[in-house]
């Protein structure tokens, strides 16, 4: 069997020239007449090492990175296929502390397998959860998910099992499973990494959701900003259909389940579940008032499970190992693992899956290694554009839904964006308002008008016009938005704004112009 050389096809690697590296490696293989083949895997999630090339040797996998096309010839000269020594050698990738410290359940295969090989998928534990599920009554599947303590990873943290129970209990001729892969939060890429690195785990999770609730059709709503994820996902669905995993008789069972990809059109608010359903129906992505819950009247008016991609991709391991196994990770009411995405101005950025309970400080300092620029950390935004900015004094906050709520923040989709001391928090507060104004669906006045007013008022603060009065106005506006908005876009934009103002008041004071040196 040909020896495998892995060159990721994950967007991190592609955006850093991985296709070119793969081509140069192919040429070297041909020129040297070697019995090797290039496999395009997903990413292990160590973004600072991308593009990270791995080779399968007799003694296990050896990684090299970050590789450029110009390094390839020297890698072969150093004996790449034997895992030869080279300045870019990282040794066994699983021994790299960033990876070694993780507890990978949802991302167990990501970066390891060929994402489009169902054989690879099964050889690494794939489909075991579905096989178990097929042998259970639907309610038992729901029970396992409930027992696991899994809560929605899209932001709201709603118990997944309860949502599924509602759809299971609803009587209807047609039900749907919708995967929310809109992943619009800055600082997040977990959904993307699964789609590009282990798409079958999502397919398996959606099939299990379908069997548990009686839904026969699924949609994956992927944002248009993810062209690679769309490609891999579509291809994977085709392969799954061909293999009898999707279609009339899922794995030879009497169950029907099929699914398709739908592509968003660049509207952040379409990540909100009811706006997403409107978008899938071909309408403007305007938020719907609840009730009715999507679980009762969702897509095309039918009972619908709408879950974040990571929620669904965590289901196969739960059905494989049992709800209790998953529940035994984590703390308090935050059970299982969470793929933390460390981004922005950080030295070791990437995806870190771990049980709930790490502190923010451990994440950004011990794991993230501080800033990329080497300057002190000033602020960390957790939970995307609607999440709060944390100063260093809150770094002992534990990664847990309740702990974050207690300090005026939210975990959201678990994206963490690090800023160094050059960050201007007045600017970031203004940006939060501007983003809300650009992305507002327009339904509520506080969100639509309030955010535009917010930008104007913060501009006045910047210009030093009546700062006291205008800052009081910002606080007022935030209160109005918080209590007068239908969804979290208008309702949570006050988090980044008010946390910036509360924790970094100096940035909001009129700039004292430096006196020219005599």
């Amino acid at each position: 069997m040909s020896q495998r050389i892995y060159v990721p096809r994950d967007s991190f690697a592609l955006a850093l020239g991985a296709d070119k590296i793969a081509a140069v490696i192919q040429n070297e293989i041909a020129a040297r007449g070697l019995d090797a083949l290039v496999v395009r895997n997903g990413s292990r999630g160590m973004a600072w090492l991308e593009p990270m090339v791995e080779v399968e040797t007799a003694g296990g996998r050896i990684a090299y990175g970050p590789v450029t096309p110009a390094d390839v010839a020297s890698l072969f000269a150093a004996g790449l296929l034997e895992g030869g020594d080279h300045p870019l050698s990282l040794g066994d990738p699983e021994q790299i502390p960033f990876l070694k410290r993780q507890q990978r359940l949802t991302f167990a295969r990501c970066g390891i397998i060929d994402p489009l090989s169902l054989e690879d998928y099964e050889a690494h534990g794939g489909l075991a959860g579905l096989r178990n599920a097929l042998a259970m009554p639907p309610l038992e599947i729901v029970k396992q998910v409930t027992e696991s303590g899994l809560r929605g990873r899209g932001g709201a943290g709603f118990p997944t099992g309860i949502k599924w129970q509602t759809v299971h209990d609803a009587k209807a001729t047609q039900k749907y499973i919708v995967c929310n892969a809109d992943e619009g939060d800055s600082g997040t890429f977990a959904d993307r990494m699964i789609m590009e690195g282990d798409p079958f785990v999502l397919i398996e999770g959606m099939i299990i959701a379908g069997i548990a609730t009686g839904a026969t059709h699924g949609y994956v709503y992927i944002r248009s900003e993810y062209p690679e994820a769309i490609k891999v996902m579509e291809e994977a669905i085709g392969i799954a259909r061909h293999a009898g995993l999707l279609g009339w008789n899922v794995l030879g069972s009497p169950n029907l389940f099929d699914m398709e990809v739908r592509v968003g059109a660049g509207a952040y608010v379409c990540g909100e579940e009811t706006a997403l359903l409107n978008s899938l129906e071909g309408k403007r992505g305007v938020v719907r008032a609840k009730p009715p819950l999507p679980a009762i009247e969702g897509l095309f008016g039918k009972p619908t499970v709408i879950n974040n991609l990571i929620s669904l991709a965590s289901v196969p391991i739960i059905l494989d190992k049992g709800g209790a196994y998953y529940r035994d990770f984590g703390m308090g009411r935050s059970r299982g693992t969470i793929p933390i995405q460390i981004a922005g101005n950080v030295r070791y950025g990437g995806l870190f899956e771990a049980a709930f309970g790490l502190t923010l400080g451990e994440i950004v300092n011990d794991i993230g290694g501080g800033t990329a620029t080497g300057r002190p950390i000033k602020a960390v935004q957790v939970g995307g554009p609607l999440g709060a900015y944390f100063p260093e004094k809150l770094f002992d906050t534990q990664f847990d839904y309740e702990a974050f709520t207690a300090v005026g923040g939210l975990i959201g989709h678990a994206g963490i964006v690090v800023f160094d001391d050059t960050a201007d928090m007045l600017h970031m507060a203004r940006f939060a308002m501007e983003f809300c104004a650009i992305e507002s669906c327009g339904k509520c006045t506080p969100c639509r008008i309030g955010s535009t007013r917010g930008v104007e008022v913060l501009d006045k603060v910047r210009a030093g016009i009546e700062p006291e009065r205008n800052l009081a106005l910002v606080t007022d506006l935030c209160n109005t938005m918080k209590f007068g908005s239908l969804c979290a876009l208008g309702g949570f934009t006050p988090y980044p704004v008010m946390s910036a103002l509360t924790h970094f008041p100096d940035d909001f004071r009129p700039q004292v112009l430096p006196v020219a040196a005599e």
Partner: protein, 158 residues
């Protein structure tokens, strides 16, 4: 001549619409199809789509204008999208965007006079751990910097 061109356009619109109109919730897939075909959503397509889906023209128009992706006018030969979101800002994304504007002499949502570039903002490309990020047509770019920007501009202008 003009008329022939018009007929040809209508045919292309109809082909896209016919291929997708049977899908549930077909409007977005159709609009994506039209934009893939023409690079924007021509006004002439609105009544055809409305007709095929049994919607009013106002409905279709309302959807086209709601979503940031759909262009009402053709873009330049290349579209450069620069990420404006927080993680990219944390590593100088804003300064880079301003540099691009200065270099191209245009702002966001504008096209250069030689029609080579349209500059568009985007909010996160999922490359936030390799910031700043950009996208040239369908090509993702991470660790974007002034050197990469200058190379792109030079290569396309030459």
């Amino acid at each position: 001549m003009m008329q022939a061109a018009g007929t040809e356009v209508m045919q292309r619109i109809t082909d896209v619409v016919d291929a997708l109109k049977e899908k549930d919730g077909a409007l977005l897939p159709i609009l994506h199809g039209i934009q893939d075909e023409f690079g924007y959503v021509p006004d002439e397509s609105v009544p055809v789509i409305a007709d095929a889906l049994n919607l009013s023209r106002a409905d279709v128009h309302g959807v086209v204008t709601f979503y940031h992706d759909y262009r009402k006018h053709p873009a330049g030969r290349h579209v450069l999208k620069i990420c404006r979101a927080e993680a990219c800002q944390a590593l100088g994304g804003q300064a880079l965007a301003e540099r691009a504007m200065a270099l191209l002499g245009i702002g966001f949502h504008e096209t250069t006079t030689d029609n080579a570039f349209t500059l568009e903002p985007t909010f996160c490309l999922g490359l936030c751990a390799c910031a700043p990020a950009a996208m040239l047509d369908n090509q993702l770019i991470a660790r974007f910097d002034e050197t990469k920007l200058a190379e792109i501009v030079k290569e396309i202008r030459s």
